[in-house]
């Protein structure tokens, strides 16, 4: 583990130590009264010279130096002295500022042999021109981008050992120069290597990082002790000076961080003037009024952020892009998220500017607001979920979409859409503002903008006005059977320009409002964007145009219910006819056969009895046939009876021929068999006739008139009709007066040209071939039919129904 040294270059301390050691450069204390040396030029740049006038200066000096002190540190510079030239009594002493000297204000002390001459004022070492530094702005002015790092947690550590070495530097120009540890300036602690605090032990390790100590051994000679082994220490500007290790390495037990503390750091870009570009380390950065150490390398390549188990002590890194731009990164974030930043050099500082860090990003706030708005918007839908009923239109159930449906027409309502859109947009906008102000900016509960209520008022007024017009003047046409998004711009299936323009203005207004809201970042937003007054005025006009169009337009047709009589298809009607009425009539054959049955005592022999029994049984069986299945089986059964009777007749005849049976028996058996043959034939004929009764209807179709009854509102008496996309022309209709027209059963009292109940009767017997074929196509077989009524103004209504049951409803509430 390598220690990191913070702080700017301040290598003047060693010179101060040398002075304290009582060298020749040390100003005499009390040997002569101090007299002030007048600075001739109070501002100087690195490499430049400065001079002081020495009142009553000596004629000559053997040693002369100028010590520059800043804080408790000083550096001694060799000086050139020019004695007084008569008549002047003042001498002049001058020195050159080293090119590595840190910028800042220095007190000056001129030392001549045993006499000191304090400078009359401070010497300001600065960049050429000593310009003021300005911090104008941050770009961007704030940020939402936080980076998480893990810094060592001092409370959680484990003992670890590192090797420390002692390095010896000897070079004439080394005094006062900054030292670099692994290329980064650092400032050791002055001390004596032989009298340092005790090293940490395994059981009592020391905190880390430990300071590196510097011992001034003499002019041009220093030693650094407790330098981590393998560290590279160099002297700024003296790259050829290499230290030598003194003695053996020491083992130091330190507290190695065992756990990281999560912290946030941010990056910021500063724009201003006169940043120190050539010597970045001259820049002085203060954050929240505390001067912070900055490693001036690059923000492009940063050390790892660490992890919870392997933390890394984060340090601020900086990069000067130009004298007008500077990047700072890995800047620790205070809990309030505010950074008060100033930049300067030496003792010159820019104005302090606040840089705001928001813990919640713009998108996060937007998403949070969106979720809140969504939840609020869905709240009514959630409440609807507790309602077990649903709205069914054309076999499709609607529950959530009920909010947008106009129950009168089963269409999507534009005024409701407008109202909901603006309500949701307002909720979103105000939530965005609320979250931004309260959670991001830590401000009070914000007020709403003055124009937002106006918009809501326009939307609400439109919705209410629309309902009022619908109630008084009648609804628009229902259009297609199922609601579709086209309903927003159509009225009864016809595009209505007034609806179209209002939809467009609504969408534009809502999108523009959201866009304007989101354009204001959560860190800076103070109120919702005000809708421009003229836009508000325009939207009001749009709503007026919409309501005006609604007023001017005729009410459109709405079909609440449709019914077909008879409700079944031809095919179904044929099948469902009373089975008994369809069965063959066996009465005549049975009567005839019963008359043929001989008297019980007519047959004495077994064969004759068998023949008679077969006939008798056949008649009984036929009489008991009540179902279609019975009839089907009857034919086969009669065949068996007939065979039995015929066999009996043959047996009886054979017996007769052999004188085993009487003539009467043989003749009775023959008669019974013949009667059974006739009976069977008659039964077949009866069945065939009964079948023939059905066939014309099956082949040619039923001649059953159909009546379609529609109940609703605004049903124009001169409307046109379609059934399953095929025209239902007036010529196919037949009203009670014998005219080719529908029957108006209930007329609309306020608008006589409208009907509330209309009946359309179609008699297939009166149709031509083409119309009859269409009639069969509609009603021949079970299926779904779609009925359309189109009023003269083009508004239409559609309703579907199935055959059977031949009933359709516009919409209904289902569970």
């Amino acid at each position: 583990m390598k220690p990191r040294r913070s702080g700017a270059v301040r290598r003047i301390s060693r010179s101060l130590v040398l002075a304290l050691l009582g060298s020749a450069l040390m100003p005499a204390q009390g040997n002569a009264p101090n007299r002030l040396a007048q600075l001739i030029n109070a501002r100087v740049s690195r490499g430049g010279s400065f001079s002081l006038e020495i009142p009553n200066g000596p004629a000559a000096t053997t040693a002369k130096t100028i010590a520059l002190a800043r804080g408790n540190r000083s550096i001694v510079l060799p000086a050139i002295y020019v004695p007084p030239v008569a008549p002047s009594k003042n001498g002049e002493v001058s020195a050159q500022v080293p090119d590595w000297l840190p910028l800042g204000d220095y007190s000056v002390l001129v030392h001549f042999d045993q006499q000191d001459y304090p400078g009359s004022s401070a010497l300001s070492v600065g960049p050429p021109g000593n310009p003021p530094v300005h911090l104008n702005e941050f770009a961007p002015p704030n940020t939402y981008d936080l980076t998480t790092v893990y810094n060592p947690d001092p409370s959680q550590w484990r003992a670890a050992s590192i090797d420390l070495v002692r390095l010896d530097f000897q070079s004439p120009g080394i005094d006062g120069r900054p030292l670099l540890l692994n290329g980064v300036p650092f400032e050791p602690v002055l001390g004596t290597c032989s009298a340092l605090p005790p090293l940490g032990t395994q059981t009592n390790p020391t905190a880390w990082p430990e300071p590196i100590y510097e011992e001034i051994s003499g002019p041009g000679h220093i030693q650094l002790c407790r330098v981590p082994k393998d560290s590279v220490v160099t002297v700024q500007g003296l790259s050829d000076v290499r230290p030598t290790q003194v003695g053996q390495s020491e083992q130091q037990w330190i507290r190695e961080p065992a756990h990281g503390q999560k912290a946030s750091v941010v990056s910021l870009t500063l724009h201003g003037s006169d940043f120190q570009y050539d010597h970045p380390y001259d820049n002085v950065v203060s954050i929240n009024h505390i001067r912070v150490p900055v490693i001036w390398d690059s923000c492009a390549t940063l050390p790892p952020a660490g992890t919870s188990t392997s933390p890394v002590a984060s340090q601020i890194h900086g990069e000067v892009i130009s004298t007008q731009e500077m990047h700072l990164c890995m800047v620790p974030l205070p809990s309030d998220g505010q950074l008060l930043v100033s930049v300067g050099y030496g003792d010159v500082s820019s104005e302090t500017r606040a840089y705001r860090v928001f813990f919640e990003s713009e998108w996060r706030v937007a998403i949070e607001s969106g979720i809140v708005a969504l939840i609020l918007a869905l709240l009514p839908l959630g409440l609807l979920s507790f309602v077990k009923q649903q709205y069914a239109v054309a076999d499709e159930t609607y529950k959530l979409r009920m909010l947008f449906l106009d129950p009168q027409t089963d269409t999507y309502s534009l005024s409701k859409l407008q109202f909901y859109l603006w309500t949701v947009a307002a909720i979103f906008g105000y939530t965005y503002l609320f979250v931004s102000r309260v959670r991001v900016q830590f401000q009070a509960w914000p007020d709403v903008s003055s124009t937002l209520p106006g918009i809501i008022a326009v939307a609400a007024g439109t919705a209410v006005g629309s309902q009022v017009i619908t109630s008084t003047k009648g609804a628009k046409g229902a259009g297609d059977e199922k609601p579709s998004f086209a309903d927003f711009i159509t009225s009864g299936g016809v595009v209505a320009p007034d609806r179209l323009q209002m939809l467009l203005w609504t969408l534009f207004g809502v999108v523009a409002f959201l866009e304007a809201t989101l354009q204001q970042g959560p860190g800076t937003i103070s109120e919702l964007p005000a809708v421009p007054e003229r836009l508000l005025y325009l939207m009001g006009l749009s709503s007026v145009a919409y309501l005006g169009g609604k007023m001017a337009r005729k009410a459109g047709p709405i079909i609440d219910e449709i019914s077909l009589t008879p409700p079944g298809s031809d095919e179904a009607i044929l099948k469902s006819r009373d089975v008994a009425s369809q069965l063959p009539d066996f009465a005549a054959p049975i009567a005839a056969a019963q008359a043929s049955i001989p008297a019980p005592n007519a047959a004495a022999g077994v064969p004759a009895k068998a023949a008679v029994d077969a006939l008798s049984n056949a008649v009984s069986t036929a009489g008991a046939a009540m179902t279609s299945s019975d009839i089907t089986q009857l034919i086969a059964t009669l065949g068996k009876f007939r065979q039995t009777a015929e066999k009996a007749a043959e047996d009886a005849a054979s017996d007769f021929a052999q004188n085993k049976a009487s003539q009467a028996d043989a003749e009775t058996a023959q008669g019974a068999a013949a009667a059974l043959q006739d009976f069977s034939a008659s039964i077949v004929q009866a069945i065939s006739f009964a079948a023939a009764q059905q066939m014309p209807a099956i082949i040619g179709g039923l001649q059953q008139p159909r009546t379609i009854e529609i109940r609703g509102s605004n049903l124009a008496t001169d409307a046109t009709f379609q059934l399953s996309d095929a025209d239902l022309p007036f010529r196919m209709l037949l009203n009670k007066d014998g005219q080719n027209a529908p029957d108006v059963v209930v007329r609309d009292e306020t608008t006589p040209t409208f009907a509330k109940l209309m009946r359309l009767t179609i008699d297939p017997a009166k149709l031509g071939d083409a119309d009859l074929a269409q009639f069969r196509n509609w009603f021949g077989a079970d299926g779904k039919l779609t009925f359309t009524i189109t009023n003269p103004d083009g508004q239409h209504a559609v309703i579907s129904f199935t055959v059977p049951p031949g009933i359709g409803k516009k919409s209904e509430t289902v569970k």
Binding site: S576, T627, A681
Partner: protein, 296 residues
């Protein structure tokens, strides 16, 4: 198709329609529906369709029509399709009697041939059906109905060959009849009979045939001929010629009640007579020799 094949085809459909080879020319019934009502004849023509008027008009125009005088007064009502005729007992009685008139039979044969048989043959030939059995199937579909509805569903005949096509058509028709309202499903015995003929390979309607347990022979087909050969067959032959034979037998000492049925008992009597007289003719068959021996 020869005349005999035509007669056979008609006989087959007669069996289907009336249970009798020669049909029931005097059948009178009433069918429901606008196109039904009073129905008459071997292949049923109806009052509602106007066919009954046409048939009876033709009959009444025949010079030898025995019952024209009883039927002619109803012709105006028949033309007007007056449904009150459905229950008119006089007309019903006249029609029943006329069914036994050979003129009526001839008129009906011509009428139904023109109405059903000829169009059926034309339709059959139009689609490439040439075998007598195939044409009989088509004829049956015209009499009972359904040919225009079902024929297009099977595609061209020449694609699969006539016999295969006819088999498929009979199967399709069976399925269709079964799907219809009662009592049409019970008429699938027609298809059973056709299937049996197809299995027997009776494509040329060679006699004898058995259809729906009823034998069709050339002798049966000649039933209207006064000089037909009487023999035992099923259904039993009946008619005046049978009665005449029975009466002569009775007169010769072979007692019977002359019921007009040429059944096993009558055949046994004939055989006894033949044996007694030594008549060299098939036993139990009344041919020319037997008739002559009986003085007929």
């Amino acid at each position: 198709m020869t005349d005999l094949q035509k007669s056979t085809a008609e006989a087959i459909v007669n069996v289907f329609e009336t249970g009798r080879v020669l049909g029931n020319y005097g059948a009178v019934t009433v069918l429901k529906g606008d196109s039904g009502h009073l129905t008459y004849g071997r292949s049923q023509t109806t009052l509602g369709s106007g066919g009954l008027f046409d048939l009876l008009s033709q009959y009444c125009n025949q010079p030898n029509a025995k019952f024209a005088a009883g039927i002619a007064p109803f012709l105006p009502q028949l033309k007007a399709k007056d449904t009150s005729l459905d229950t008119d007992p006089k007309l019903r009685a006249a029609l029943l009697e006329a069914g036994a008139d050979p003129v009526m039979r001839t008129t009906q044969d011509q009428f139904f041939t023109a109405r059903f048989f000829a169009p059926a043959c034309r339709d059959a030939e139009a689609v490439g059906i040439t075998t007598p059995l195939g044409q009989t199937v088509v004829y049956d579909s015209h009499v009972q109905g359904g040919w225009p509805k079902l024929q297009p569903q099977l595609g061209p005949v020449n694609q699969r060959g006539e016999q295969d096509w006819i088999k498929s058509y009979v199967a399709l028709r069976r399925t269709w009849l079964q799907s219809l309202a009662p009592p049409l499903p019970s008429t699938t015995y027609r298809m059973d009979s056709f299937d049996a003929l197809i299995v027997q390979g009776k494509w040329d309607l060679a006699l004898p045939l058995t259809v729906h347990n009823i034998a069709i022979t050339e002798a049966v087909l000649n039933g209207g001929d006064a000089k037909r050969v009487l023999q035992l067959q099923k259904p039993y032959l009946t008619g005046p010629d049978v009665v005449a034979v029975q009466k002569q037998l009775a007169a010769k000492g072979f007692a019977n009640s002359a019921d007009g049925v040429y059944g096993p008992f009558t055949a046994a009597l004939v055989q006894q007579w033949q044996t007694k007289q030594g008549i060299a003719e098939d036993p139990g068959v009344v041919g020319p020799k037997t008739l002559a021996s009986l003085g007929l």
